[in-house]
Amino acid sequence: MPSIRNQIRELRAARNMTQQELADKVGVTRQTVIAIEQDRYSPSLETAFKVATVLGVRLEECFQYEPRGKRS
């Protein structure tokens, strides 16, 4: 499990945006958006910035770093 957590699902839902719409705007597949939302895949820095830009938030509002073993 990656140590990068994210709020993409909540941010996306607040904007009534589907996974496919977000994927198209970021330039990834819908399966990648699903994997990121489920914390099963940590995207590259470039993709993380693109996601934050599309959702209109700062990177740290979208992604958080939690070192392994410190998760509650």
């Binding site: 330039g27 990834v28 597949t29 819908r30 399966q31 990648t32 699903i34 994997a35 489920q38 099963r40 895949y41 995207p43 590259s44 993709t47």
Partner: protein
């Protein structure tokens, strides 16, 4: 949450089906193997792959690939390489063993075909290992 298959995933399943359908009967029903059959098998896998990949491409609207696809592809190639290297070392070890004992258990005129089958088998096993790794990695999300 239900996740439909991406274009790359469908393509990998098709490749695995084609590999098993063509190579399986050849290696597991190896009666009267010949150079012509090896050539036929290579032709069959090319034709089958073209047909299957064309069908998948025709019925898949979104055919983009991204960074995760590339990472999964690399992971598959790494496993494929280690499988091929391991098989090569095993094969060379067996050759050395037979050479050290001073006998080779195959009749002279079949040696060429035997080596063709062994090396082709190594490539096939490595390719199947690569494809299977990529499919499993897609399912585990990476």
């Amino acid at each position: 949450m239900a996740t439909s298959l991406s274009y790359r995933e469908k393509s990998l399943y098709a490749s695995l089906v084609a590999e098993l359908a063509v190579y399986g009967p050849y290696f597991f029903l190896h009666r009267q193997n010949s150079v012509n059959r090896v050539a036929g098998m290579i032709l069959a896998i090319i034709v089958l792959q073209i047909i299957l990949q064309s069908i998948i491409a025709a019925f898949t609207r979104n055919r983009i690939t991204d960074e995760r696809d590339r990472l999964i592809e690399l992971r598959g190639y790494r496993v494929g390489y280690f499988t091929l290297a391991s098989l090569m070392i095993l094969g060379l070890g067996m050759l050395w063993f037979h050479a050290a004992l001073g006998h080779f258990p195959i009749e002279g005129r079949w040696v060429g075909l035997h080596f063709l089958n062994v090396f082709f088998g190594m490539l096939v096993i490595s390719d199947i290992a690569k494809t299977t790794t990529q499919i499993v990695t897609y399912r585990r999300a990476l």
